[in-house]
């Protein structure tokens, strides 16, 4: 429908020029006007089809029709002349609007809106005012005859037009300066063609003012330049054709082995967006993660970043978090997404695996932590409950025992025996509670807590423990490791000496227990050590057991500690 109307309007405009007796160079005017109008309408239609959510397409179509309508001024009757003069300049205002609104057709900031408003004012109100005083037999709305005023108004209007186009270009150039590389690529053709129009417009105005002979040719060249602009816009909007080379490079790169983490760099190069982030979809948790498996949250819709989903066989694989400038280039994004689909799926699987490993590690740490806090709770319950009751009982029996031997010495003897039993029970309970959780460890730290452990060992122990406090989970792991290793050395190794070293160096804590016993121990054999391996690995640490036959046993753990 639009095409039909456009053809009709074009033919009409051509006819008007053909029959016009007022124009000097009718043929060129007809050709250039119709060409420019159709170019805008055609380019606008393409843009509208490709970007239905943008207003730039409709605005270009409007601009094209206004160009065609401006041909009315070429008509021979007074009516054509009057209307023609009123609508003559509207196309230029529409042009400024398109320039400012590029690429999405919306005016986002107040300077752009102000420039557009002044432009529309210039081509409507000022144009009307000029016409009201233009002396011409065909002017139907002439209300006065002020040739000089008309001349002044006319040149003021034209200079204003030059200034407005210049400001509009300056605004676009300002955006160009702060734009990201992809956006810059989209803005550049528009700025270049716009600048050409501006130069020719200014030149035509100057030529007109100075009544230069070549003025007519300059006006024609300017109209021709207008006709180029739609193609520049289209080039900017549909740049993807030009980006095919980078996609081809990408395909070649991805054909070879892809080093872990280099996929993002390849994609960033192909898209020309160094700020690109790739988030991989984890269907199980319905979240995104980076290549290392760390959770990533997508930016909200209104943020500075734009998200494009990548699918493979209808299944979500990843999301590209990129500069909004790339949105002007959905074909490139799609081509890159399609080319990288397999590689992205591979990385996605790896990211998923890493995320699961992280989760596993975290859950193991949580289990150990839960166990430790349960131990603390148990110790506290024993201390406040059974231990205290037994102690109170032992106090009473102690009193009974020490009461003056009155009527029954047998009772005092019984009391003493009962007290001895109770004290025995208290001692056993104390061992149990201390084994469950040594309170001095949380209270005074590893170095102090190990003093008692070392002193209680039947085999002499030399301690070298960094007095600095460590994170609780590491202190606990180290405490149990040293206790278990000392117990093993005492029970199985027939050792004469045990050396314990705990030191923090280069971002890790190393714990070493070495004895001079018979050796031949292994982590798999002793279930005590097995449990310790779990505890240390839950902290991302590693346990080494060196135990050659007849050459002592060294148990060494390293736990990362920033």
């Amino acid at each position: 429908m639009i095409i039909g109307v456009a053809v009709l309007a074009g033919v009409g405009a051509a006819l008007l020029f053909a029959r016009s007796d007022s124009q000097v160079d009718r043929g060129w005017y007809a050709v250039l006007t119709v060409w420019t109008g159709w170019s805008f309408i055609g380019a606008g239609l393409v843009a509208w089809c490709r970007r239905p959510d943008y207003r730039i397409g409709p605005w270009m179509i409007v601009t094209g029709f206004l160009w065609l309508i401006s041909a009315v001024v070429a008509g021979n009757t007074a009516g054509f002349f009057t209307v023609g003069n009123l609508v003559d300049t509207l196309a230029k205002a529409a042009f400024v609007q398109v320039l400012l609104g590029y690429p999405d057709g919306r005016l986002h900031h107040w300077p752009e809106r102000a420039v557009a408003a002044v432009t529309w004012l210039d081509v409507t109100v000022v144009q009307l005012a000029v016409l009201l005083f233009t002396p011409s037999p065909r002017n139907l709305i002439q209300i006065g005859n002020h040739a000089q005023l008309t001349q002044d108004l006319h040149s003021a209007q034209r200079w204003t037009a030059v200034a407005l186009v210049a400001v509009a270009l300056a605004l676009v150039a300002g955006r160009l300066r702060t734009a990201s590389p992809p956006m810059r690529r989209a803005l550049l053709p528009v700025l270049t063609s716009g600048a050409l129009v501006l130069v020719l417009l200014a030149a035509a105005v100057v030529a007109n003012e100075s009544s230069w002979a070549g003025a007519e040719q300059l006006v024609l060249a300017q109209i021709a330049a207008y006709g180029l602009v739609p193609y520049a816009f289209l080039a900017g909007l549909l740049r993807s054709r030009l980006a095919r080379a980078s996609v081809a490079d990408l395909v070649v790169q991805l054909g070879g082995p892809v080093a872990p983490g280099s996929l993002r760099d390849s994609l960033a190069r192909a898209l020309g967006d160094s700020s690109l982030e790739v988030a991989y979809w984890l269907p199980e948790s319905a979240t995104y993660a980076d290549a290392a498996g760390r959770p990533v949250s997508l930016p909200p819709d209104d943020s500075e970043r734009t998200v494009t989903a990548v699918e493979r066989g209808g299944v979500r694989v990843a999301a590209l978090i990129h500069d909004p400038g790339l949105r002007e280039d959905p074909e490139l994004l799609q081509a890159v997404g399609a080319a990288a689909g397999l590689a992205l799926e591979n990385e996605r699987l790896q990211a998923e695996l890493r995320a699961k490993l992280d989760e596993l590690r975290a859950s193991r740490a949580r289990i150990v932590q839960a166990g430790d806090s349960e131990r603390r709770r148990l110790e506290r319950n024993l201390h406040d409950g059974a231990q205290q009751r037994l102690l109170a009982l032992s106090f009473l029996l102690g009193l009974a025992e020490s009461a003056p031997p009155g009527e029954s010495p047998a009772v005092a003897k019984l009391a003493r025996e009962a007290k001895e039993q109770v004290v025995q029970a208290i001692e056993e309970l104390r061992e149990l509670a201390h084994g469950i959780h040594p309170t001095i460890l949380t209270d005074r730290g590893l170095a102090v807590a190990l003093q008692t452990v070392a002193a209680r060992s039947p085999v002499p122990v030399a301690l070298s423990v960094d007095p600095e406090r460590l994170p609780g989970s590491i202190e606990t792991a180290a405490y149990y490791l040293v206790s278990e290793a000392i117990a093993n050395a005492t029970k199985h190794a027939s050792a004469n000496r045990i050396d314990v070293k705990v030191a923090r160096t280069n971002g890790k804590v190393s714990i070493e227990v070495a004895d001079d016993g018979v050796g031949g121990a292994s982590a798999a054999a002793g279930s005590g050590l097995k449990g310790l391996i779990d505890r240390i690995e839950a902290l991302d640490g590693t346990l080494f057991v060196t135990s050659p036959a007849c050459a002592g046993t060294t148990i060494r753990a390293e736990i990362p500690c920033a």
Binding site: L391, F395, T439, Q451, A455, A462
Partner: protein, 219 residues
């Protein structure tokens, strides 16, 4: 002899008060928290404060901190700390600023009424009391073995000295004459190279300093 007793367990506190009263002490104040203890010590100025190591709010070492504060601000008040656990760390921390008017005993010892009362009196009288379980950790398996030179009996005497006992106390305990004890003590000091006079509390200090030197982290 006037006593203030601090323990957050009412059950144990009353048991303690009962025993102390039966043993002839005058319990002038009771406290369930460290703050209350400081208040009672300030207001009653007792001869001795008997303090549970673990009290609210954190139930870790509030009693120990309070004991150190009493030793700092009221040096005339003796402090006997009672603990559920044998911890060298706590004991050495408490005794690190002198061995006069101070003691560290396991709570179990209280049921041995006569012995406990005598320990409390000794501490109140200016001496010290270190739990035998702690002493045995100190005298136990040492990596540097100067104690190897001692006879078993001399080791026994060394331990009893570390507990804070006088020659007379040791003699009674070992059922020997005081003279025999003096001879052992001279031998021990000579073998270990400790130089000190016979003054009880200085002797304890010297013995403890010697024993602890082998127990500290060597770093």
């Amino acid at each position: 002899m006037r006593v203030v007793v601090a323990d957050d367990s009412v059950l144990l506190r009353e048991g303690l008060v009962h025993i102390l009263t039966a043993a002839g002490f005058d319990v002038v104040g009771q406290a369930g928290t460290a703050d209350e203890l400081m208040l009672k010590v300030r207001s009653y100025n007792p001869d001795i404060a008997i303090v549970d190591i673990r009290m609210p709010p954190t139930h870790t070492d509030e009693g120990l901190q309070a004991a150190k504060a009493i030793r700092d601000k009221h040096p005339e008040v003796a402090v006997l700390v009672l603990s559920q656990y044998v911890e060298l760390g706590y004991a050495t921390e408490l005794l690190s600023h002198g061995t006069e008017r101070v003691g560290y005993l396991l709570k179990d010892r209280v049921s041995d009424v006569a012995e406990f009362a005598s320990s409390a009196r000794r501490v109140a009288g200016g001496g010290s009391a270190l739990d035998p379980a702690v002493v045995s950790l100190l005298v136990g398996n040492r990596i540097d073995e100067p104690l190897d030179a001692l006879t078993p009996r001399e080791r026994e005497v060394l331990g009893l000295m570390a507990e804070g006992r006088s020659n007379q106390g040791i003699a009674t305990r070992l059922v020997v004459t005081e003279h025999a004890v003096e001879k052992h003590v001279r031998n021990i000091f000579q073998k270990l190279g400790i130089q000190t006079d016979a003054e009880d509390h200085r002797r304890v200090l010297a013995v403890l300093a010697f024993l602890q030197s082998g127990q500290r982290p060597t770093r």
